[in-house]
Symmetry: C2
Subunit: 178 residues, 2 copies
């Protein structure tokens, strides 16, 4: 064992990471923010926690509406993930630009994403500032599943057990090989 | 898209999940608590967040010491992960029972685990109650790496892209196939 650093750790201990989209809406504005930083955080009630940087447009929408949809992109949404992760919802409607279909949930105003593997309707029930991010604790009110779910879109490393979905500008997305 | 539930979601949207061990020590007592519920939560300062149930022995040790080591098990530690995840540190010394070697860090009293792929020395800098768990925000003070890191131990589903490391009592651990 030897002293190392974060960037070397990331080569060995930080992949694969599933990606989730935080989808939020407030007063007619909506956005999609792809995140790797999420975790389950309660079994009863069902809750997930997400980390979002305050400068993200989606951060404000979540904070102001108190709601978020957690949408899980499948293998066909790597390009959409890159587009949503490298642009701001201040400048574009990401649903339109990425060719995504908004759908209505039953509990929140934020849209579901028709093309995603799964969508979780969530209410924000807690918040903690952590360094340069906010943790939002999200109670899961409803679960929606795609009729034909694909494999999930993962943030991956360069090992050989994945089908590469996208490899551009240092961003590497894939799905576990079947 | 159709209404579903959490257990069906888990078949499509909840794997693979990397496993991390929360290792804590207080007043001569120590324990190891395997977790799937963890995320990065800050880039500067570097921080991770973990979710731990209050009834876990390790929860008390983290709370009382204000420290934790996040140790990342590799493919050779699936059995140790199962053992540590199905017993309480109240009843055994998990290092001894699992044949693990404690090592000293530089910033915290909690032991590193010599056999793990990586060890992160952490100080607890925030806490949030989320349903039936606590979120601990952990600032990363030092990173240690194994001299010969293996693939990570993952919680997996039954798809074919993994080498199965352990399959017992509904618990399925694996590593992405090379």
């Amino acid at each position: 064992m030897r002293k190392s650093d974060w960037s070397e750790f990331r080569k060995h201990g930080a992949r694969p990471e599933r990606i989730v989209w935080a989808v939020a809406e407030h007063e007619g504005q909506r956005s999609i923010c792809p995140l790797g930083w999420k975790m389950n955080t309660s079994g009863s009630p069902l809750m997930m926690a997400i980390s979002v940087a305050p400068q993200r447009f989606t951060h404000g929408l979540i904070e102001q509406s108190g709601e978020v949809v957690l949408a899980w992109p499948g293998e066909n949404l790597a390009e959409a993930t890159l587009l949503c992760g490298t642009h701001s919802g201040r400048d574009m409607d990401k649903f339109k630009e990425a060719g995504l279909t908004p759908a209505s949930g039953e509990h929140v105003s934020a849209p579901l994403v028709e093309e995603c593997v799964a969508n979780l309707e969530c209410r924000v029930v807690g918040r903690l500032t952590t360094g340069d991010h906010s943790v939002f604790a999200c109670e899961i009110l409803a679960v929606w599943l795609h009729d034909q779910p694909t494999r999930l879109c993962l943030s991956i490393d360069r090992s050989s057990g994945y089908d590469t979905l996208l490899d551009r500008d240092g961003r590497l997305f894939g799905a576990v090989k079947r």
